[in-house]
Symmetry: C2
Protein backbone atom coordinates (compact mmCIF):
# COMPACT_ATOMS: atom_id res chain seq x y z
CA UNK A 1 0.00 0.00 0.00
CA UNK A 2 1.56 3.28 -1.04
CA UNK A 3 1.31 6.60 0.76
CA UNK A 4 -1.06 9.01 -0.91
CA UNK A 5 -1.57 11.70 1.70
CA UNK A 6 0.44 14.35 3.43
CA UNK A 7 0.45 14.90 7.16
CA UNK A 8 0.68 18.35 8.75
CA UNK A 9 1.77 18.56 12.38
CA UNK A 10 0.11 21.80 13.42
CA UNK A 11 0.41 23.78 16.64
CA UNK A 12 -3.01 24.96 17.80
CA UNK A 13 -1.58 27.45 20.27
CA UNK A 14 -2.83 27.81 23.84
CA UNK A 15 -6.55 27.40 23.22
CA UNK A 16 -8.19 30.61 22.03
CA UNK A 17 -9.44 30.08 18.48
CA UNK A 18 -7.75 33.18 17.10
CA UNK A 19 -4.30 32.33 18.43
CA UNK A 20 -3.63 29.73 15.73
CA UNK A 21 -1.64 30.94 12.70
CA UNK A 22 -3.26 31.82 9.38
CA UNK A 23 -1.48 28.82 7.85
CA UNK A 24 -2.76 26.47 10.53
CA UNK A 25 -6.33 27.72 10.15
CA UNK A 26 -6.24 27.38 6.36
CA UNK A 27 -4.97 23.81 6.53
CA UNK A 28 -7.56 22.89 9.16
CA UNK A 29 -10.30 24.16 6.84
CA UNK A 30 -8.97 21.85 4.09
CA UNK A 31 -8.27 18.76 6.19
CA UNK A 32 -9.88 15.40 5.58
CA UNK A 33 -9.02 14.09 9.03
CA UNK A 34 -7.85 15.86 12.19
CA UNK A 35 -6.21 13.85 14.95
CA UNK A 36 -6.12 16.03 18.05
CA UNK A 37 -5.11 16.02 21.69
CA UNK A 38 -7.46 16.51 24.62
CA UNK A 39 -5.76 19.90 25.11
CA UNK A 40 -7.14 21.17 21.80
CA UNK A 41 -10.27 23.21 22.56
CA UNK A 42 -13.73 22.72 21.06
CA UNK A 43 -13.65 26.21 19.58
CA UNK A 44 -10.44 25.33 17.72
CA UNK A 45 -12.15 22.32 16.17
CA UNK A 46 -14.86 24.65 14.82
CA UNK A 47 -12.21 25.66 12.26
CA UNK A 48 -12.53 22.24 10.58
CA UNK A 49 -16.28 21.44 10.42
CA UNK A 50 -15.72 19.33 7.29
CA UNK A 51 -13.09 17.03 8.78
CA UNK A 52 -13.39 13.76 10.58
CA UNK A 53 -12.10 14.51 14.08
CA UNK A 54 -10.31 11.84 16.09
CA UNK A 55 -9.36 12.40 19.73
CA UNK A 56 -5.99 10.84 20.52
CA UNK A 57 -3.63 11.18 23.45
CA UNK A 58 -4.11 11.62 27.14
CA UNK A 59 -4.21 14.85 29.05
CA UNK A 60 -1.31 14.16 31.38
CA UNK A 61 1.51 11.78 30.56
CA UNK A 62 1.24 9.46 27.63
CA UNK A 63 2.45 5.89 27.72
CA UNK A 64 4.66 4.72 24.89
CA UNK A 65 2.01 2.26 23.76
CA UNK A 66 -0.45 5.14 23.43
CA UNK A 67 2.11 7.03 21.35
CA UNK A 68 2.65 4.00 19.12
CA UNK A 69 -1.10 3.83 18.57
CA UNK A 70 -1.16 7.50 17.56
CA UNK A 71 1.75 6.90 15.17
CA UNK A 72 -0.14 4.02 13.57
CA UNK A 73 -3.30 6.08 13.21
CA UNK A 74 -1.32 8.84 11.50
CA UNK A 75 0.22 6.42 9.01
CA UNK A 76 -3.06 4.60 8.37
CA UNK A 77 -4.95 7.85 7.75
CA UNK A 78 -2.26 9.22 5.44
CA UNK A 79 -2.71 6.08 3.31
CA UNK A 80 -6.42 6.80 2.99
CA UNK A 81 -6.77 10.59 2.82
CA UNK A 82 -4.93 13.39 0.98
CA UNK A 83 -4.72 15.91 3.83
CA UNK A 84 -4.27 14.68 7.39
CA UNK A 85 -3.76 17.11 10.26
CA UNK A 86 -2.19 16.19 13.57
CA UNK A 87 -3.30 19.07 15.79
CA UNK A 88 -1.44 19.62 19.06
CA UNK A 89 -1.95 22.13 21.85
CA UNK A 90 0.79 24.77 21.93
CA UNK A 91 3.66 24.12 19.52
CA UNK A 92 4.41 20.63 18.15
CA UNK A 93 8.20 20.94 18.59
CA UNK A 94 8.22 21.80 22.29
CA UNK A 95 7.16 19.01 24.65
CA UNK A 96 4.98 17.64 21.87
CA UNK A 97 6.41 14.17 21.17
CA UNK A 98 6.91 15.32 17.57
CA UNK A 99 10.13 13.33 17.21
CA UNK A 100 8.28 10.05 17.52
CA UNK A 101 5.54 11.01 15.08
CA UNK A 102 7.98 12.43 12.52
CA UNK A 103 10.07 9.28 12.75
CA UNK A 104 7.07 6.98 12.23
CA UNK A 105 5.83 8.97 9.22
CA UNK A 106 9.29 9.17 7.64
CA UNK A 107 9.82 5.44 8.08
CA UNK A 108 6.51 4.84 6.30
CA UNK A 109 7.59 7.14 3.45
CA UNK A 110 4.86 9.67 4.15
CA UNK A 111 5.36 13.35 3.41
CA UNK A 112 5.11 15.52 6.50
CA UNK A 113 5.30 19.22 7.24
CA UNK A 114 5.27 21.11 10.55
CA UNK A 115 3.34 24.33 11.18
CA UNK A 116 4.45 26.11 14.35
CA UNK A 117 2.04 27.26 17.06
CA UNK A 118 2.07 29.76 19.90
CA UNK A 119 3.62 27.90 22.79
CA UNK A 120 1.92 28.38 26.14
CA UNK A 121 4.79 30.37 27.65
CA UNK A 122 4.48 33.10 25.03
CA UNK A 123 0.71 33.30 25.43
CA UNK A 124 1.19 33.49 29.20
CA UNK A 125 3.75 36.26 28.87
CA UNK A 126 1.36 38.15 26.58
CA UNK A 127 -1.72 37.87 28.76
CA UNK A 128 0.18 38.73 31.94
CA UNK A 129 2.12 41.47 30.12
CA UNK A 130 5.26 40.09 31.70
CA UNK A 131 8.13 39.75 29.19
CA UNK A 132 10.35 36.68 29.50
CA UNK A 133 13.48 38.71 28.83
CA UNK A 134 14.30 42.18 30.02
CA UNK A 135 17.27 44.33 29.14
CA UNK A 136 19.91 44.28 31.85
CA UNK A 137 17.85 41.87 33.98
CA UNK A 138 17.00 38.70 32.06
CA UNK A 139 18.94 37.70 28.96
CA UNK A 140 18.05 34.01 28.85
CA UNK A 141 14.97 31.87 29.41
CA UNK A 142 14.53 28.12 29.74
CA UNK A 143 11.46 26.02 29.15
CA UNK A 144 11.50 22.73 31.03
CA UNK A 145 9.25 20.07 32.45
CA UNK A 146 9.66 17.46 35.09
CA UNK A 147 7.10 15.10 33.66
CA UNK A 148 7.89 14.56 30.00
CA UNK A 149 8.96 10.98 30.41
CA UNK A 150 7.12 8.93 33.03
CA UNK A 151 9.96 6.38 33.06
CA UNK A 152 12.44 9.04 34.16
CA UNK A 153 11.68 9.53 37.82
CA UNK A 154 14.99 11.08 38.82
CA UNK A 155 15.01 14.85 38.76
CA UNK A 156 17.08 16.66 36.15
CA UNK A 157 18.82 19.82 37.33
CA UNK A 158 16.76 22.94 37.08
CA UNK A 159 18.22 25.18 34.37
CA UNK A 160 20.42 28.13 35.33
CA UNK A 161 18.83 30.73 33.02
CA UNK A 162 17.63 34.12 34.25
CA UNK A 163 13.98 33.30 33.56
CA UNK A 164 12.48 29.84 34.04
CA UNK A 165 9.24 28.45 32.67
CA UNK A 166 8.00 25.11 33.92
CA UNK A 167 5.42 23.44 31.66
CA UNK A 168 2.88 21.07 33.21
CA UNK A 169 3.99 22.52 36.53
CA UNK A 170 0.90 21.94 38.66
CA UNK A 171 1.75 18.90 40.76
CA UNK A 172 5.51 19.46 40.53
CA UNK A 173 5.61 23.16 41.34
CA UNK A 174 6.17 22.99 45.10
CA UNK A 175 8.94 20.40 44.77
CA UNK A 176 10.55 22.44 42.00
CA UNK A 177 10.49 25.54 44.20
CA UNK A 178 12.24 23.62 47.01
CA UNK A 179 14.94 22.52 44.58
CA UNK A 180 15.37 26.08 43.30
CA UNK A 181 15.93 27.30 46.84
CA UNK A 182 18.47 24.50 47.33
CA UNK A 183 20.20 25.58 44.08
CA UNK A 184 20.58 29.11 45.43
CA UNK A 185 17.71 31.08 43.89
CA UNK A 186 16.47 33.87 46.15
CA UNK A 187 13.33 33.09 48.16
CA UNK A 188 11.76 36.39 47.11
CA UNK A 189 12.18 35.71 43.37
CA UNK A 190 8.88 36.69 41.73
CA UNK A 191 6.73 33.86 40.36
CA UNK A 192 3.70 33.89 38.10
CA UNK A 193 1.43 30.86 37.96
CA UNK A 194 -0.99 30.82 35.04
CA UNK A 195 -3.71 28.21 34.69
CA UNK A 196 -5.72 27.60 31.50
CA UNK A 197 -3.80 30.21 29.53
CA UNK A 198 -5.95 32.11 27.00
CA UNK A 199 -9.18 30.35 27.99
CA UNK A 200 -12.22 31.93 29.62
CA UNK A 201 -11.31 30.32 32.97
CA UNK A 202 -7.72 31.59 32.92
CA UNK A 203 -6.27 32.39 36.36
CA UNK A 204 -3.08 34.30 37.18
CA UNK A 205 -1.43 34.07 40.60
CA UNK A 206 1.52 36.16 41.80
CA UNK A 207 3.80 34.35 44.25
CA UNK A 208 7.42 34.11 45.25
CA UNK A 209 9.56 30.99 45.24
CA UNK A 210 9.08 30.87 49.03
CA UNK A 211 5.29 30.86 48.79
CA UNK A 212 5.30 28.51 45.80
CA UNK A 213 7.26 26.02 47.93
CA UNK A 214 4.23 25.85 50.22
CA UNK A 215 2.19 24.36 47.41
CA UNK A 216 -0.24 25.56 44.79
CA UNK A 217 -3.52 24.27 46.17
CA UNK A 218 -6.01 22.83 43.73
CA UNK A 219 -5.70 23.55 40.04
CA UNK A 220 -8.15 22.54 37.36
CA UNK A 221 -6.27 22.78 34.09
CA UNK A 222 -2.81 23.00 32.57
CA UNK A 223 -0.53 25.09 34.78
CA UNK A 224 2.47 27.10 33.68
CA UNK A 225 4.94 28.43 36.25
CA UNK A 226 7.16 31.40 35.26
CA UNK A 227 9.96 32.58 37.57
CA UNK A 228 12.67 35.17 37.69
CA UNK A 229 13.32 38.88 38.18
CA UNK A 230 11.66 39.56 34.81
CA UNK A 231 8.36 38.56 36.46
CA UNK A 232 8.49 41.53 38.82
CA UNK A 233 5.43 43.72 38.51
CA UNK A 234 5.98 47.15 36.96
CA UNK A 235 5.09 50.30 38.93
CA UNK A 236 2.05 51.19 36.82
CA UNK A 237 1.09 47.71 35.70
CA UNK A 238 -2.61 46.95 36.09
CA UNK A 239 -3.70 44.40 38.65
CA UNK A 240 -3.77 40.84 37.38
CA UNK A 241 -7.08 39.55 36.24
CA UNK A 242 -8.41 36.30 37.62
CA UNK A 243 -10.57 35.45 34.64
CA UNK A 244 -8.97 37.11 31.67
CA UNK A 245 -11.09 38.59 28.96
CA UNK A 246 -8.35 40.37 27.09
CA UNK A 247 -6.86 37.21 25.64
CA UNK A 248 -10.14 35.44 24.96
CA UNK A 249 -11.19 35.30 21.31
CA UNK A 250 -12.16 38.66 19.97
CA UNK A 251 -14.62 39.03 17.15
CA UNK A 252 -14.19 42.80 17.12
CA UNK A 253 -11.58 45.17 18.40
CA UNK A 254 -12.67 46.81 21.64
CA UNK B 1 -4.00 65.65 26.51
CA UNK B 2 -5.82 62.45 27.41
CA UNK B 3 -5.22 59.02 25.95
CA UNK B 4 -7.85 57.99 23.45
CA UNK B 5 -6.31 55.01 21.72
CA UNK B 6 -5.26 51.50 22.55
CA UNK B 7 -1.91 50.02 21.63
CA UNK B 8 -1.45 46.39 20.60
CA UNK B 9 2.03 44.91 20.80
CA UNK B 10 1.79 42.19 18.16
CA UNK B 11 4.22 39.45 17.25
CA UNK B 12 4.52 39.14 13.47
CA UNK B 13 6.27 35.78 13.65
CA UNK B 14 9.36 34.91 11.60
CA UNK B 15 8.41 36.61 8.35
CA UNK B 16 6.09 34.49 6.22
CA UNK B 17 2.76 36.29 5.94
CA UNK B 18 0.69 33.29 7.02
CA UNK B 19 2.66 32.65 10.20
CA UNK B 20 1.01 35.51 12.09
CA UNK B 21 -1.96 34.59 14.30
CA UNK B 22 -5.57 35.15 13.25
CA UNK B 23 -5.84 37.73 16.03
CA UNK B 24 -2.75 39.58 14.88
CA UNK B 25 -3.95 39.64 11.26
CA UNK B 26 -7.40 40.92 12.25
CA UNK B 27 -5.96 43.74 14.34
CA UNK B 28 -3.53 44.69 11.57
CA UNK B 29 -6.46 45.00 9.17
CA UNK B 30 -8.15 47.43 11.60
CA UNK B 31 -5.12 49.48 12.61
CA UNK B 32 -4.86 53.21 12.10
CA UNK B 33 -1.09 53.24 12.52
CA UNK B 34 1.47 50.43 12.47
CA UNK B 35 4.94 51.04 13.95
CA UNK B 36 7.16 48.21 12.81
CA UNK B 37 10.73 46.94 13.00
CA UNK B 38 13.03 46.48 10.03
CA UNK B 39 12.66 42.73 10.64
CA UNK B 40 8.97 42.85 9.70
CA UNK B 41 8.62 41.77 6.08
CA UNK B 42 6.93 43.69 3.28
CA UNK B 43 4.46 40.86 2.75
CA UNK B 44 3.40 41.14 6.40
CA UNK B 45 2.66 44.84 5.90
CA UNK B 46 0.32 43.90 3.04
CA UNK B 47 -2.07 42.82 5.80
CA UNK B 48 -2.63 46.48 6.74
CA UNK B 49 -3.00 48.43 3.46
CA UNK B 50 -5.23 50.99 5.22
CA UNK B 51 -2.77 51.88 7.96
CA UNK B 52 -0.09 54.49 8.16
CA UNK B 53 3.14 52.50 8.43
CA UNK B 54 6.10 53.85 10.38
CA UNK B 55 9.46 52.09 10.35
CA UNK B 56 11.14 52.26 13.76
CA UNK B 57 14.11 50.46 15.26
CA UNK B 58 17.34 49.24 13.90
CA UNK B 59 18.12 45.82 12.56
CA UNK B 60 20.90 44.95 14.98
CA UNK B 61 21.22 46.45 18.43
CA UNK B 62 19.16 49.43 19.41
CA UNK B 63 20.53 52.27 21.45
CA UNK B 64 18.51 53.40 24.44
CA UNK B 65 17.88 56.75 22.83
CA UNK B 66 16.35 54.98 19.85
CA UNK B 67 14.13 52.99 22.21
CA UNK B 68 13.05 56.17 23.98
CA UNK B 69 12.12 57.65 20.63
CA UNK B 70 10.00 54.58 19.83
CA UNK B 71 8.30 54.84 23.23
CA UNK B 72 7.47 58.48 22.55
CA UNK B 73 6.07 57.68 19.11
CA UNK B 74 3.84 54.98 20.62
CA UNK B 75 2.47 57.37 23.23
CA UNK B 76 2.00 60.21 20.75
CA UNK B 77 0.17 58.01 18.25
CA UNK B 78 -2.11 56.51 20.92
CA UNK B 79 -3.18 60.06 21.77
CA UNK B 80 -4.16 60.66 18.17
CA UNK B 81 -5.57 57.35 16.87
CA UNK B 82 -7.93 54.69 18.26
CA UNK B 83 -6.00 51.59 17.21
CA UNK B 84 -2.22 51.65 17.19
CA UNK B 85 -0.21 48.51 16.43
CA UNK B 86 3.39 48.00 17.43
CA UNK B 87 4.44 45.12 15.16
CA UNK B 88 7.58 43.20 16.09
CA UNK B 89 9.37 40.34 14.36
CA UNK B 90 8.96 37.05 16.23
CA UNK B 91 7.27 37.37 19.60
CA UNK B 92 7.17 40.66 21.51
CA UNK B 93 7.96 39.10 24.91
CA UNK B 94 11.17 37.33 23.91
CA UNK B 95 14.14 39.60 23.12
CA UNK B 96 11.65 42.26 22.04
CA UNK B 97 12.27 45.19 24.43
CA UNK B 98 8.59 44.90 25.39
CA UNK B 99 9.28 45.81 29.01
CA UNK B 100 10.37 49.30 28.05
CA UNK B 101 7.41 49.92 25.74
CA UNK B 102 4.86 48.53 28.21
CA UNK B 103 6.34 50.71 30.97
CA UNK B 104 6.19 53.86 28.85
CA UNK B 105 2.58 53.23 27.81
CA UNK B 106 1.45 52.38 31.34
CA UNK B 107 3.10 55.49 32.73
CA UNK B 108 1.21 57.54 30.15
CA UNK B 109 -2.06 55.86 31.15
CA UNK B 110 -2.54 54.21 27.78
CA UNK B 111 -4.33 50.88 27.46
CA UNK B 112 -2.11 48.18 26.00
CA UNK B 113 -2.56 44.55 25.05
CA UNK B 114 -0.05 41.98 23.82
CA UNK B 115 -0.70 39.46 21.03
CA UNK B 116 1.87 36.67 20.93
CA UNK B 117 3.75 35.66 17.79
CA UNK B 118 5.67 32.62 16.55
CA UNK B 119 9.15 33.08 17.89
CA UNK B 120 11.95 32.31 15.44
CA UNK B 121 13.10 29.20 17.31
CA UNK B 122 9.75 27.48 16.86
CA UNK B 123 9.58 28.38 13.18
CA UNK B 124 13.13 27.07 12.77
CA UNK B 125 12.28 23.82 14.53
CA UNK B 126 9.23 23.43 12.28
CA UNK B 127 10.98 24.09 8.99
CA UNK B 128 13.94 21.87 9.86
CA UNK B 129 11.61 19.23 11.36
CA UNK B 130 13.95 19.12 14.34
CA UNK B 131 12.05 19.18 17.65
CA UNK B 132 13.58 21.21 20.49
CA UNK B 133 12.71 18.55 23.05
CA UNK B 134 12.86 14.81 22.66
CA UNK B 135 11.73 12.14 25.09
CA UNK B 136 14.65 10.67 27.01
CA UNK B 137 17.15 12.97 25.24
CA UNK B 138 16.21 16.63 25.69
CA UNK B 139 13.86 17.75 28.42
CA UNK B 140 14.80 21.43 28.58
CA UNK B 141 15.58 24.18 26.11
CA UNK B 142 17.03 27.66 26.61
CA UNK B 143 16.73 30.71 24.40
CA UNK B 144 19.53 33.20 24.87
CA UNK B 145 21.41 35.96 23.16
CA UNK B 146 24.77 37.55 23.64
CA UNK B 147 23.86 40.86 22.12
CA UNK B 148 20.68 42.09 23.79
CA UNK B 149 22.34 44.94 25.56
CA UNK B 150 25.21 46.66 23.75
CA UNK B 151 26.39 48.13 27.07
CA UNK B 152 26.93 44.64 28.52
CA UNK B 153 30.08 43.44 26.90
CA UNK B 154 30.95 40.76 29.45
CA UNK B 155 29.69 37.30 28.56
CA UNK B 156 26.95 35.71 30.60
CA UNK B 157 27.30 31.97 31.17
CA UNK B 158 25.83 29.80 28.48
CA UNK B 159 22.77 28.00 29.86
CA UNK B 160 23.03 24.37 30.95
CA UNK B 161 19.86 23.09 29.28
CA UNK B 162 19.78 20.04 27.00
CA UNK B 163 18.92 22.12 23.92
CA UNK B 164 20.27 25.61 23.31
CA UNK B 165 19.00 28.25 20.92
CA UNK B 166 21.05 31.38 20.35
CA UNK B 167 19.13 34.28 18.85
CA UNK B 168 21.00 36.83 16.75
CA UNK B 169 23.82 34.32 16.70
CA UNK B 170 25.60 35.21 13.49
CA UNK B 171 28.63 37.18 14.61
CA UNK B 172 28.73 35.57 18.06
CA UNK B 173 28.34 31.96 17.00
CA UNK B 174 32.01 30.95 16.78
CA UNK B 175 32.85 32.54 20.14
CA UNK B 176 29.83 30.89 21.71
CA UNK B 177 30.92 27.51 20.38
CA UNK B 178 34.36 27.99 21.93
CA UNK B 179 32.77 28.79 25.27
CA UNK B 180 30.53 25.73 25.03
CA UNK B 181 33.55 23.52 24.48
CA UNK B 182 35.19 25.17 27.49
CA UNK B 183 32.04 24.49 29.53
CA UNK B 184 32.24 20.79 28.69
CA UNK B 185 29.82 20.30 25.79
CA UNK B 186 30.92 17.53 23.43
CA UNK B 187 32.65 18.70 20.25
CA UNK B 188 30.43 16.44 18.14
CA UNK B 189 27.17 17.90 19.50
CA UNK B 190 24.89 18.48 16.50
CA UNK B 191 24.23 22.08 15.49
CA UNK B 192 21.70 23.59 13.11
CA UNK B 193 22.22 27.10 11.81
CA UNK B 194 19.19 28.68 10.16
CA UNK B 195 19.32 31.99 8.36
CA UNK B 196 16.26 34.01 7.31
CA UNK B 197 13.83 31.55 8.85
CA UNK B 198 10.58 31.13 6.88
CA UNK B 199 11.65 33.50 4.09
CA UNK B 200 12.31 32.59 0.47
CA UNK B 201 16.08 32.88 1.02
CA UNK B 202 16.09 30.62 4.08
CA UNK B 203 19.26 28.53 4.50
CA UNK B 204 19.84 25.58 6.83
CA UNK B 205 23.34 24.37 7.71
CA UNK B 206 24.19 21.24 9.69
CA UNK B 207 27.35 21.53 11.77
CA UNK B 208 28.84 20.37 15.04
CA UNK B 209 30.09 22.55 17.88
CA UNK B 210 33.62 21.82 16.64
CA UNK B 211 32.92 23.07 13.12
CA UNK B 212 30.84 26.00 14.38
CA UNK B 213 33.87 27.11 16.42
CA UNK B 214 35.70 27.60 13.11
CA UNK B 215 33.25 30.33 12.18
CA UNK B 216 30.11 30.68 10.13
CA UNK B 217 31.38 32.54 7.12
CA UNK B 218 29.21 35.25 5.66
CA UNK B 219 25.56 35.48 6.55
CA UNK B 220 23.04 37.87 5.10
CA UNK B 221 20.14 37.92 7.51
CA UNK B 222 19.07 37.02 11.03
CA UNK B 223 20.79 33.82 12.15
CA UNK B 224 19.50 31.32 14.68
CA UNK B 225 21.83 28.68 16.11
CA UNK B 226 20.27 25.54 17.63
CA UNK B 227 22.42 22.98 19.47
CA UNK B 228 22.06 19.73 21.33
CA UNK B 229 21.45 16.02 20.87
CA UNK B 230 17.85 16.78 19.85
CA UNK B 231 19.30 18.30 16.65
CA UNK B 232 20.60 14.93 15.48
CA UNK B 233 19.24 13.96 12.11
CA UNK B 234 16.78 11.05 12.05
CA UNK B 235 17.53 7.96 9.97
CA UNK B 236 14.88 8.63 7.33
CA UNK B 237 14.81 12.40 7.57
CA UNK B 238 14.93 14.14 4.21
CA UNK B 239 18.00 16.14 3.29
CA UNK B 240 17.93 19.73 4.44
CA UNK B 241 16.86 22.26 1.91
CA UNK B 242 19.01 25.27 1.20
CA UNK B 243 16.20 27.50 0.04
CA UNK B 244 13.09 26.26 1.72
CA UNK B 245 9.80 26.33 -0.08
CA UNK B 246 7.81 24.34 2.42
CA UNK B 247 7.61 27.10 4.98
CA UNK B 248 7.08 29.92 2.49
CA UNK B 249 3.54 31.30 2.33
CA UNK B 250 1.13 28.84 0.83
CA UNK B 251 -1.92 29.96 -1.01
CA UNK B 252 -3.06 26.37 -1.58
CA UNK B 253 -2.26 23.08 0.03
CA UNK B 254 0.16 21.09 -2.05
Amino acid sequence: MSAIGKVYLIGAGPGAQDLITLRGARLLAQADVVLHDALVTDEMLELCPQAEKILVGKRCGQLSTAQQFINKQLVDNARKFPLVVRLKGGDPMLFGRADEELRALEEAGIDVEVVPGITTALAAAATSKQPLTKRGVARSVAFFTSSTAPEHTEHAAIPDTDTLVQYMGGREAAATAERMLAQGRRADTPVLVIENVSRPDQRILRLTIATLAQGLGSTHGPVLVMLGEAMKRRAHQAADIKASTDIAPQRQAS
